[in-house]
Amino acid sequence: MRVLSVAVVLLGSAFLVHWLVWRLAMPRRQTAALLAIFLAVLAVGIPLAVRGIPAPELALHGPWECLHVAIVHVAVALAYVVVYSALEERSPSMTILSFVNEAGAAGRSREEIARVLRGASPVEIRLDAAVRDRMLAETGGLCTLTPKGRAWASSYEWLRNFLGFTRGG
């Protein structure tokens, strides 16, 4: 129960810090800020937990208990970062499902759904996001892969071929 308690306290603290920081001032690089918060809480929390601060009965004993807490903390942190990317920007599929669900039994026509998504211009938005995230550089209407973008594209092209998937999107 000690290890579970420490893990829950550390994760809860990280989420609280995240929520407070977001309320005060939304960071410009939100994913980086999230990772920094979770790792900082872990880096500070583990030594405190080993010393039994603030609750001696919850002190961690030995490196394996510290590693156990760290594995859980890092796993949940990385999963939350993935979830957060879907909170920043509305996904087309989830937009469709929410939009159709709101209509209940009456449903939606394909044209109504297309009108909602058409305004989002998903291709333009992704190109702009790729430029913002420095995967693409755009000059005079020409989109060029940066080294970061080339690394992503090459890696995923390799993965897709290795797994035998057709090109998605």
């Binding site: 579970l4 929520w19 920007e89 159709v100 995923y156 797994l163």
Partner: protein
């Protein structure tokens, strides 16, 4: 020695390794098949490995029921989080529009005019692909030309995300048919 508590600690990582290996083996064996089948197989195999290693470790360490339940809960959370991360990592290769666009540019030698990207992969195709995927997966059902919600699993995820969004960032701006809507993510 890794018997006992160390096995319990490393069980989620062992589960992730099993998830990755089995997903890769299934995907390569069933080339061009449904990619989500390989991911489902990986998750199930990984869970079985994580649970088995946890159980063996707990038995060897001789923990009582309360501690065993606490460690099992921790490991379940850790494994599911790791498996979720791997699922999303692979899913980018399947469904990510951004990755698709980057690969198109890579194929073209590293540069493409924005206009040809927009012309070659236009919004109508994106919408059509999403609708086909949702209808094909049973998440939407066609009733006399109108689409209604089918399987509620993906909708349930969308609802959870909507709630999380409201807590962490704030509510989504309303979508207005024909107006510019919020940015969309890859899914």
């Amino acid at each position: 020695m890794l018997i006992g508590y160390p096995m319990v600690v490393l069980a989620p990582v062992a589960g992730l390794a099993a998830d990755c290996v089995s997903q890769v083996l299934w995907a390569r064996a069933a080339r061009r098949g449904n990619p989500y089948t390989s991911l489902a197989v990986g998750i199930v195999v990984g869970f079985a490995v994580a649970a088995t290693v946890t159980a063996i470790g707990l038995r060897a360490a001789g923990y009582g029921a309360a501690d065993a339940a606490a460690f099992s809960t921790l490991n379940l959370a850790a494994y599911l989080a790791l498996a979720f991360g791997y699922f999303n990592f692979v899913n980018l290769a399947i469904a990510s529009l951004r990755i698709r666009l980057l690969c198109e540019i890579l194929d073209a030698g590293g540069s493409l005019p924005r206009a040809s990207l927009l012309a070659g992969y236009n919004t109508a195709q994106v919408i059509d692909l999403r609708l086909r995927r949702l209808v094909g997966g049973g998440h939407l059902v066609d009733r006399n030309g109108r689409l209604i919600v089918g399987k509620r699993r993906f909708l349930g995820i969308a609802i959870v995300y909507n709630i999380l969004r409201r807590i962490v960032i704030g509510p989504w701006p309303p979508y207005d048919a024909g107006a510019t809507t919020p940015e969309t993510a890859d899914a």
